[in-house]
Every structure is written in C-alpha cells, then in structure tokens.
C-alpha cells in the first residue's frame, strides 16, 4: 500500500512513516533539535522522496502535547452557527481564544462532543513549509486519535484505549470510546496515579467491565491493568501508536475517508481542486467586464457618429428641398420626398407628361386654323366656285358650296384629295333651281400627321 505517507510532528524530532506491503515503516528525521520548521520540512521531504514519494497529499499527525481537548455539551446549541457556538463552549473549558486556534469536533452522543484544537499560526507555519517544498498537506490529525481509531477498527467493542510511548512511560493518552467515536481524551505525563484514576473512573461508569486496549504501554502498566477487576484487557498486535496511527492514516488517504478530527479546516482549509482555476477565471471575468465596457463605449460612440451623419444628411435634404421648391413652406424632413413627388407630378401634368405619353402634344387637339390653311391652300385656283359653309371639326371637315358643274365640283374635291392632307369623300352634287350651277357637299378627314407627305416651306 505504498504511496501514502504520514509525517508525525513531535518534539524534539519529527518522524516520517509509511505502509509498505502491509508493514509500517517509520523513521526519525535527522536534524538539529533547534532546526526551523522549514529545515525540518525540507529534510522530511527528502526522506519521503527517498521512500518513493512522487506527489500527492500527506497526512500530518500531531503529538498529543500539541493539542488541547475538552468534551463539551451540545444539547442546547442552536442550529445556525453551531460550530461557532461549540467554539465558545470550548473556550469556556480551555485556556484558549477561538481566534487563535483551529478546532474540530466529533459528536460523542448523549449531548456531548469531543473538541480538539491546536494553535493556528504554528500549524500554518508547518503547512506552509511543506507546501513550499512541493508537498501538499492533506488531513491534520492527532496521532493518539489515529491510533485509537486503528484499535477500534480491529476491536469494535473496545471501550477505551490507553496509549503509551513505549517502555519509557513518560506520557499516556487515555481515550474513551463510545460506540464508534471517541468521547473523551486525557493526556497525562508520567503520572501513573492520575492515569489509573482515570482508568478506574472509566471502568466504574458502566455496569459492564471496561474493554481496554493497551497500546505502546510498558509491561508494568499491563500488569497493573490486569489487577483491576473491572477491566478486560484487549490484546492488540500493534506495538505502538506510530504503527497504529500510520496504518489508519494509510486507510484514510487510500479511501479518502474523513478522520474523526481534522484540523485542516477554517483558516487552514486545503485549497479546493478548482482553486488552480481561480486566477484564470477571475482574469477571464475581468477581461469580459472590460470587453463589455469597451464594446458599450465603442458602440455608443459609433452610434453618435451615425446620429451626426443623419443630422448632416437631413440638413442637406432640407437645402435640396428649398432649392427645388423655393416658394413652398418648409415641411418635416420625413414628408419632403412626398412633397417633391407631388410637385413633380404636378409639373409633369402641366407639361402633358402625366400619363407618360411620349408626345404631350397628342393631348392637344389639332388646330382648326391649320386645317383652314390646308383647305384654302388646297382648293383649285383655276375654277370658279363659292364656299357657303366650311365646318372644320377635329375629326372631319365639311365643305358646302356651289360650283358651275358637277365636274367642277368633282375637281374641287379631287384637288383637296390630291394635297394628300385629307381623305375626301366623293361630293354630293345637286343642280340648282333657277340658275346654272350645282351645289356640292363633301366631307374630308384629316390625314394622320405621321402619314402626311412632306411639304417644303413654312405655312
């Protein structure tokens, strides 16, 4: 199960641990006792790389001396701002200020929760040191609770875990387990009496014997535990908290599970997986805003140019209108074209072009005066005759007169016919009574001007 690493932040030296083929391997990081956090993180990184670390988040396990904890009541907490309210409860139990620590809570049932906290700035320095060497930090958990979780994994009916630091016996962690959660946690430094008081207290709280697991405790402590009648010792194969904690840490990292307590939250919360896109997204948003603003300004300016052009064109239109109709009053620009069209139609009408005729003069009837001239100039000069009535109409000319004979009457009509200007009907003649001569009457139709023979000279 390689690929999952844990760094134990302990004093005086940090330790690194990993699980290889089911076996836990741990090592103390070399370095001066007074080395800075950055130096220690660098050395730890090098050790991890030697072990095959190729990236990915690591788990930071905190020594118990770095944490403060208390069990708080949660029955009367309001739903809104629950975490903040629990922080205030924790503040009442511990010599801390909420603003200075990172805290997490695990519900223990029976209206209680176990709260664990650590100094924010101290944790931030450690996280920052690892991230500066390219090692992302995942969960931050107390080592003792990791070890207790491992014991509970193997012995689900355990009621408590007593964790020692090996044969040395300088400090002990006593964790009360209630169901599948820790309920209370004590840390004692080399005070055996306090330890056993705590254990005895636990054992008497329940009717049944306390099933207690010993982890990393010296044999003396084991013997003492056996002597307490209300305790049932659980034999664990795990030798110490490092081993148990590392094993559980590997399980957490492998499955992405949530630990009981994770101090990588709040001000120390890990960046989300989309955090890398934050800057580009904000830059894109800013670019979009700038684009929209610039586009709006550009379009507004463009629109004003068009408006100015429109004004210019309208003024020119007014000038054209005034020039074309100097006597007419000014009208709205939108009606000028219609007005000009009306003037044009009227002028075309007055010029005879209203119906689109090629020759406007076709509207004007032929002048009777011209027909009079044609008739008079067409009459024969060598005959004596008298015209009594000459009726010139637009489509017909009627000649009523008297001649000396029928033949001369015929010659009169023929003379007009020969001019080519008229289509002359044969004359009607009648002898006059009482004296010589005949009366004649004929009609002539003016020939279409287009078919007239061309004549020389002006009439």
């Amino acid at each position: 199960m390689s690929g999952h690493f844990m760094v134990i932040i302990a004093c005086p030296r940090w330790r690194v641990a990993r699980v290889v083929d089911g076996e836990v391997e741990a090592a103390t990081i070399d370095g001066e006792a007074d080395a800075t956090v950055e130096q220690r993180a660098d050395v730890a990184h090098q050790r991890l790389v030697d072990w095959g670390y190729a990236g990915g988040p690591i788990l930071l396990a905190l020594a118990s001396s770095s944490c403060l904890c208390a069990t708080i009541g949660t029955d009367d907490l309001e739903r809104g701002g629950r975490r903040q309210a629990m922080g205030y409860r924790l503040e009442e139990c511990l010599p801390i200020s909420c603003e200075d620590v990172i805290a997490d809570y695990v519900e223990a049932g029976h209206g209680q929760a176990l709260g664990v906290c650590a100094e924010t700035e101290w944790l931030r320095s450690i996280v920052g040191a690892f991230e500066s060497v390219g090692v992302p930090v995942g969960p931050i958990c107390p080592l003792a609770l990791l070890a207790a979780a491992d014991v509970l994994e193997q012995h689900p009916d355990a009621g408590g875990v007593l964790i020692g630091d090996g044969e040395v016996g300088r400090a002990y962690d006593l964790v009360e387990l209630r169901g599948d959660r820790p309920a209370r946690w004590w840390w004692h430094t080399a005070d055996h009496a306090a330890v056993w008081t705590g254990v005895a207290g636990l054992s008497t709280e329940s009717d049944r014997p306390l099933r207690l697991a010993l982890l990393g405790c010296p044999s003396l402590v084991r013997d003492d535990a056996r002597s307490i009648g209300s305790i049932e010792l659980i034999e664990t194969e795990t030798t110490g908290q490092d081993t148990a904690g590392t094993r559980h840490a590997a399980r957490l990292l492998a499955h992405g599970a949530l630990p009981w307590i994770d101090l990588r939250r709040g001000a120390l919360a890990a960046p989300g997986r989309y955090e890398v896109y934050r800057r580009p997204v904000l830059a894109l948003a800013a670019a979009v805003v700038v684009l929209l603003v610039c586009a709006s300004i550009a379009m507004h300016l463009h629109g004003r140019q068009y408006a100015a052009l429109t004004d210019e064109l309208r003024q020119e239109q007014v000038a054209v209108y005034r020039q074309a109709t100097p006597d007419a009053g000014l009208v709205d620009v939108h009606f000028m074209e219609r007005r000009l069209q009306s003037v044009k139609n009227q002028l075309a009408g007055l010029g005879g072009r209203a119906i689109g005729a090629n020759d406007p003069n076709s509207l004007v009837p032929a002048s009777a005066l011209e027909h009079l001239y044609d008739v008079i100039s067409g009459l024969p000069q060598d005959l004596r005759f008298r015209i009594l009535d000459l009726d010139i109409q637009p489509e017909r000319i009627i000649v009523d007169g008297e001649a000396r004979s029928h033949i001369e009457a015929e010659r009169i009509a023929g003379a007009l016919r020969q001019t080519g200007l008229f289509e002359v009907d044969p004359p009607k003649t009648q002898s006059l009574t009482g004296h010589e001569g005949v009366s004649f009457l004929f009609s002539a139709k003016p020939v279409d001007p287009g078919t007239r023979p061309k004549e020389g000279g002006r009439r």
Partner: protein
C-alpha cells in the same frame, strides 16, 4: 469554490448589467445606423426628384391647374382682337361649355365657343392665330358660314371653339367602411 456565493451573485449581477448595457448600446447603435441609411436614401430620392423638377420646369406647359377665369379669357380675346385689328363689336358672344375628362387621363378639356358676325377671313384667321399663340389655348373647331341678310361681301359668320387643358387628377375614392 472558486468564488464565495456572495461574490458569485455580485459577479452575476454585474455581468448581467454590463451585458444588458452592451445589448442596449448595440440596439441604439443599430437604430442610429438605420436612421442614417434612411436619411441617405431620402436625400438621394430628394436629389433625384429635385433634378426632375428642374427639368420639368423647362418643359412648356400645355395645361393649367384651374379653370381660366372669365376676366382672363376676356383679356386674351381683347388682346387678340387688338392685334388682328378685329372690331369687338363683331363678337356676338362667348359660350363656355362643360369641361369633360379625356378618357381615363388626369386631364379635363374645357371648350369655350366664340361667335363672330361679319368678319373677313383674314380678320378671323389673324384673331385665331393670336389667341392661339398661348400653348394652352387651341382652336379646336371653326365654322365659317356666309352671312345672312345684308352683310358686306367677303365677310363671314364664324363660330370658333377654343379649348384648353386642365390638369386635374381624379380624387381617389375613399373606401367605404
């Protein structure tokens, strides 16, 4: 989260507002552009019409827009008779007739008949020539008859019909509701 909920709402509202502003600006610009196009089209149409009006003003008119008044006709008769040395006492009368429309055209033809007694051919011809010099007046009919009674030789009784055109487009009939 890349942005908090509040930040996201502010960004969304700001973006929506700017987008609305951009859309409105685009719409306003389009309106101005369309108005400019219309103004250009109107100007070109007016320039074309103005050029046609100028050209039509040079064309001789053959019609008028209103009926010639009695006084105006009388003045023209008087002028023409003066030029033709025709005594106005020979004018027996003037008889205006009803104007009639030429087919479906917008023109009306208005005839007026003049009757003369005892005029010579040259007098009546000269009179009709002078009165017809105005392009709007035309001698459409002429009848010469030998006079009755004791009239001088070489004189005629004449009836001439003067015609002029009136440009009067028929009014469009209103559609009944």
């Amino acid at each position: 989260m890349i942005l908090s909920r509040r930040q996201a709402w502010v960004c969304a509202i700001a973006t929506l507002s700017l987008l609305s502003l951009a859309v409105w600006s685009y719409g306003w610009m389009r309106e101005q552009k369309v108005a400019a196009h219309h103004a250009m089209a109107d100007l070109r149409a007016c320039q074309r019409l103005a050029a046609e009006i100028v050209a039509l003003r040079r064309v001789p008119t053959i019609a008028s827009t209103e009926t010639m008044g009695v006084k105006e006709l009388g003045d023209r008769i008087e002028q023409a008779s003066s030029r033709a040395r025709l005594d106005l006492s020979t004018l027996e009368g003037t008889f205006p007739q009803t104007a009639r429309r030429l087919g479906d055209s917008p023109y009306l033809q208005k005839p007026t008949q003049l009757a003369f007694r005892g005029v010579t051919l040259s007098q009546i011809a000269a009179f009709l020539y002078h009165i017809g010099q105005d392009a709007s007046l035309t001698v459409s009919q002429l009848r010469l008859s030998t006079p009755r009674g004791k009239a001088a030789a070489h004189t005629w009784d004449a009836q001439a019909t003067l015609t002029y055109l009136i440009y009067s487009p028929p009014k469009k009939a209103r559609k009944s509701l």
